[in-house]
């Protein structure tokens, strides 16, 4: 790599949410240890394309730069992943960048992931602890359970699993793997468990759990290695029991 003085990028661009996408090529000066974001920053500093013409800088999202926020996700050489942890030396050239088109494109590589946050609200991905009086400490959590639940808490709502899922698309209203796994996380918590039925009933609504077609692309693609398909199968068991409780049972929770 060191002898290559430039890095070749082919970037999918789009000027506005409704305009047609087009491609633009760039030759970015090589620096050791550069990642896709530092290359995009270089283009922003000197927005000249491969034909030597001045162009507009590329728009993209980023925040933490250490693969924990999920904001800089995009399709890099065909795979959805975070651009901060995409090291140029480890990528085949030309490096192709595209936005994750499962989400509405705002501009260039920037997408609007609000649907994921709406889904988290829909499935009540939080633990209600407020009361009109001091509720005191909650029940204790077994250490073994805390350890596997911690793995689920690594989700950064990056959207890679939704992008990889064949059932998350414009023809379906499937909320996708990420919010489902959060239901398992909050139902595993001893205090969160008190609202278990509410969350299960939420994912039993339209666009919920049963839209999963078991392609298992999500678990293969998750940058955090979250056992998403195990979560989905565990929730399948929980909702099976919940549906029996709803139909045959009498108690409300």
């Amino acid at each position: 790599m060191a002898e290559n003085s430039t890095v070749h990028f082919i970037i999918s661009r789009q000027d506005s949410p409704d305009s047609e996408p087009y491609q633009e090529e760039f030759h970015v000066p090589y620096r050791p240890n550069m990642n896709v974001i530092s290359a995009l920053m270089e283009i922003r500093r000197n927005p000249v394309n491969a034909e030597g013409k001045e162009t507009s800088p590329i728009t993209w999202d980023m925040n933490c730069l250490e693969e924990v926020c999920g904001a800089c996700s995009m399709i890099i050489n065909g795979k959805p992943r975070q651009s901060c942890s995409a090291i140029v030396d480890q990528l085949e050239q030309p490096i192709r960048l595209e936005p994750m088109r499962t989400f509405p494109v705002v501009r260039d590589l920037q997408v609007d992931r609000s649907r994921m946050f709406d889904s988290l609200k829909k499935v009540k991905a939080w633990i209600p602890i407020d009361g009109t009086y001091d509720l005191g400490p909650g029940p204790r959590m077994p250490e073994v359970k805390r350890q596997w639940a911690y793995e689920l808490s690594k989700c950064m709502t990056c959207g890679v699993c939704l992008e990889a899922c064949p059932n998350v698309n414009s023809k379906s209203n499937f909320i996708g793997p990420a919010p489902l796994s959060q239901v398992r996380l909050f139902n595993a918590h001893p205090t969160g468990e008190m609202n278990k039925a509410e969350r299960l009933n939420a994912i039993m609504e339209d666009g919920g759990l049963t839209n999963c077609g078991n392609s298992q692309n999500c678990v293969q693609s998750c940058p955090k290695g979250i056992p998403l398909t195990t979560s989905i199968a565990a929730l399948n068991r929980d909702t099976t029991l919940q549906s029996f409780k709803n139909f045959f049972g009498s108690d409300q929770v």
Binding site: T210, N214, S221, A233
Partner: protein, 202 residues
């Protein structure tokens, strides 16, 4: 129940594929297998099935209605997917694509097969060894039946795998891996039973 309609339909679709449609498939393939013991043996078995009591009730509630629901809802499921196996080249993703593809192939095969045998019987034809021998004497129909039967057994075997996941029976990756091996075994076994029966008519 109003908000849960999709959950109910999906689970019903998954259940009906195994009970009763899957069980009927196994029974059908087993009865066909009598053909390997000769024409008389097959005709006797087919006649026994025809003369079961409450035949129309059994046909409507064990076969046609569940099959119709499974097929129509299945078409909806198949066409809401956006297949992406070329980009995500994983084993389970290919099974996902094949499950939808074989579902459509199986539907085309079953519609034709029902038209040619059961509907023909309703119009007065007799379903027996000779009928199948005539149908399968055409090389195109022979291939159509082979592809149809293998597609059906694949769809059933792989459907059993996802049934176990969808109902929360196999949760851990290990149990899902072992059920993959078990369902591959079921696919091979049922395909052998089905294809042996086809070649018994040739």
């Amino acid at each position: 129940m109003a908000g849960n309609r999709e959950f109910f339909y999906r689970r019903l679709h998954s259940l009906l594929g195994v009970i009763p449609v899957g069980l009927f498939l196994i029974q059908h393939l087993v009865v066909n297998h009598f053909a390997t013991k000769g024409a008389d043996s097959f005709n006797k078995a087919a006649h026994f099935m025809e003369s079961l009591p409450f035949r129309y009730v059994l046909e409507i509630f064990v076969i046609f209605l569940p099959l119709l629901f499974h097929a129509i809802y299945g078409i909806y499921i198949a066409f809401t997917a956006k297949n992406n196996a070329s980009r995500y080249n994983f084993f389970r993703n290919w099974m996902f694509v094949l499950q939808r593809f074989t579902g459509i192939v199986t539907l085309i095969f079953v519609v034709w097969h029902v038209w040619e045998t059961r509907m023909a019987a309703a119009f007065g034809a007799e379903v027996n060894f000779n009928m199948m021998e005539n149908i399968l004497s055409n090389p195109f129909m022979l291939w159509f039946y082979i592809i149809g039967v293998v597609s059906t057994t694949f769809h059933f075997a792989n459907g059993l795998w996802s049934f176990a996941v969808s109902w929360g029976i196999t949760v851990t990756p290990r149990s899902q891996l072992i059920s993959t091996y078990v369902t591959i075994g079921i696919f091979i076994a049922l395909s052998i039973v089905g294809i042996r029966a086809i070649f018994a008519f040739v």
